[in-house]
Symmetry: C2
């Protein structure tokens, strides 16, 4: 066959271990007023088997057999060669993408949701709570809990809850309960609603509510699950990049020149890129680009500080790039990228010069998504459009330079729940949001109270 | 690994030929007032390379290399072992399903859309018209035209156009034009609207409009594409069953005992089942079950007659099971199964005793779909829920009989665009529709004017 458009792995070729970047990149510890936070302090929030992963600096961590079997519901995920996008751009670059849109939830999120649900089940948890922005994480956890036999409650950022009714229905079909956040069900939610009854909500607020709902369970059988940011979440997602490595080899390529993923909390980006960061640390020349929305630019305009992961300061302090835990981003359609902070591992890797973050505006991203849909045939999630936009920038640069670069990006999810956003884009109703420097400066003043050690 | 939940084929293992059931099952010819319709008569409607396939009785037809390459965008499709559904049912049956929900449109429809667009492009066509019910076929043709470089116009049954805004947006994202049918753009549409301005529309009406829009192109560069019913459409879909055969073998199974698919016009059912009909003709004992909605029961309560494929009688007479070309089915959510007729090959195979059709009511289908979502993790299209409901019936029967049967069904598409239907089901707002015998009898009187030779 002249052009095989997908490179497939069999189940037998699936990675058997996750790669833990914490073995190679050293993050400052979680901090509290009493000093570094010991693992035991997390016990009310997470089961100890996951806390252990969170603190682990072991480079390779075995994937349990049963977890592997669960992952075969939708993995290994194919890697595509973007022949038609290349042709449309007239680029000498060879573009590959990992297709994480084929999971039953349509995104990469189940890669960790199913794992977290499984470890919780092992530890005796009966019920999980979480937050969700665009709905991808919430539906992934609902899916995972349904399969593994746990109750599930999801606090969904209100602006997305209104914009996107379908993810909520997915969660309900899988048996989960989904409420808009801020809600009246938690102290954290009520406090925000008192101050601003019309707030669009934020991931930071929803996280506060979900943690509160977990730790206040009098029976102690409810735990909280986070869909991004933390080390154990990044760990589970590395299966993406580990598969991609094998697939690039099957496609006859060596290492890629450029690796790209969109970054909100960092999980799909980390999943694809961390196994290549390992190669970069060991001397390979790879450009690794996390792409964020210009309206929520934690990596490119935020500061590397100690900050809370949530609005109500229920989490310990985390060393990360942040726009401030009170930051409420503009209501762009890429709901999954509207988070004030960033994965500590991604943040640290950026500080260490291992990654080159980039911010792109909404309109350029939708334009990239439209071109992708009409060449590669898959309608991408607005989040993934950020990765596509950066890929197109790099492919054009390769054309200018006349270089045959290999570009690999992560198609983190499909855009079937975001078609109303595409409609607005096609009708010229979307705009870019500029984030005024004053807001960033003002938040930074506040954050100056949380200095890094 | 203890339980591998999916059986994967590589591109190298893809079938290289389609199976043509017309070599083994003999259908009466298309008929007009002047006698049998010769191939040339189709020239204004279809390109001659597809007409040739429509009339072919050659058993195996080569898949062109370039078409194979296009199909690798989403094929081969995985086959899943439904371990968790089996466990929930406590059945000794081993249940497998082909997962056709993973195409960029979320259904099996691109299997023929891309092929038809490719043959049209070869023949010099510039623009395709078609109809769509639930939107799956329309979006598949929009997808195909976008990739292959043809203009595309879709007439969408009005009741679905209103119920389901997202497929329309998919078509637009892929650059196609989508209008509700009946429309004021065609004679056929205007005639219906004059009689009943509030008509919900039907596939029969939309077909009339799409054919009219094609054949009235003064430049003759517009052709029509049909997403089901005709022999060449069934032919292209047989890649499903041909892949499934290889996958069953990989799973260590011989032939299945039971093969199940939902049937509206017949294409996904034919795609999975025809390669097994071949085995049945050659002596294997296989039960083959097309499943239709009780409210649109062409195979189980319609008559095997000569009837038109469309409302305005623009098509020749087709020997098939029909409820009458004026039949307007109840607005059930399985829009893809609301067609008055049936594939002539499926109809003839039923008459020949090769298949055992079954009708199932809406509520039982949704209940089956919910169980499937919560065990297998995939939210199925309401159409596919019909196949799941019959599978559950057969799995329970196997339990009663204590028999280890192998059941294979087709998951023709996902239900992400049908979540509002699921919401209604969960809220107890859906009902079953009974089709009164008088309506069938009355239509049959009319059809008596079209006797079979």
């Amino acid at each position: 066959m002249t052009k095989i458009r997908r490179i497939i792995l069999t189940e037998q070729e699936m990675p058997r271990q996750w790669y833990n970047l914490a073995a190679d990149v050293k993050c400052p510890p979680f901090m509290s007023p009493n000093g570094p936070v010991p693992p035991e302090a997390w016990a009310p929030v997470f089961p100890m088997n996951l806390v252990e992963q969170e603190y682990s600096t072991q480079r390779w961590i075995d994937i349990p057999e049963e977890v592997l079997s669960l992952l075969t519901r939708w993995r290994p995920a194919p890697m595509h060669r973007a022949y038609d996008l290349e042709r449309a751009l007239g680029t000498p670059a060879r573009i590959y993408y990992k297709n994480e849109s084929l999971s039953p939830c349509g995104s990469h999120k189940p890669n960790t949701a199913v794992v977290q649900a499984w470890y919780n089940k092992q530890a005796g948890t009966k019920r999980l709570t979480t937050e969700t922005g665009a709905g991808q994480w919430g539906s992934a956890l609902a899916f995972a809990c349904s399969l593994i036999g746990l109750d599930c409650k999801v606090f969904m950022v209100r602006v997305s809850y209104g914009q996107k009714p379908l993810p909520k229905l997915m969660m309900q079909t899988w048996g989960a309960q989904c409420v808009p956040s801020p809600s009246m069900e938690t102290q954290a939610g009520r406090a925000v609603l008192e101050q601003d009854p019309d707030t669009p909500g934020s991931l930071g607020i929803a996280i506060s509510e979900a943690i509160e709902a977990a730790v206040t369970d009098p029976k102690g059988q409810t735990k909280y699950a986070l869909g991004s940011v933390l080390n154990h979440v990044m760990l589970h997602q590395t299966i993406i990049g580990l598969e991609a490595k094998k697939q690039l080899e099957k496609a006859g390529e060596k290492l890629p020149d450029i690796v790209i993923g969109c970054a909100g909390g960092g999980s799909n980006f980390a999943g694809l890129s961390f196994p290549f960061v390992y190669d970069k640390i060991h001397g390979s020349k790879i450009e690794i680009i996390p792409v964020e929305p210009a309206s929520c630019p934690s990596l490119t305009r935020g500061h590397y500080v100690y900050d809370h992961g949530d609005n109500a300061k229920m989490t310990p302090l985390v060393a990360m790039h942040s726009l401030g835990h009170n930051f409420i981003p503009a209501p762009i359609h890429a709901g999954g990228l509207r988070y004030h902070g960033m994965s500590p591992l991604v943040s640290r890797a950026v500080e260490d010069g291992l990654m080159s973050p980039r911010a792109i505006n909404q309109l350029e991203c939708y334009e990239a998504g439209m071109l992708f849909a009409r060449t590669e045939g898959i309608i991408p999630a607005p989040e993934s459009c950020h990765a596509i936009a950066a890929t197109i920038q790099e492919a054009k640069k390769a054309k200018e330079e006349g270089k045959e670069k290999v570009i690999l990006f992560n198609l983190s999810g499909h855009g079937l729940f975001d078609l109303l956003g595409y409609e607005k884009f096609m009708n010229g109703q979307l705009t870019d949001y500029e984030l005024p420097q004053e807001i960033i400066d003002k938040n930074h003043e506040v954050l100056a109270g949380y200095p890094l050690p």
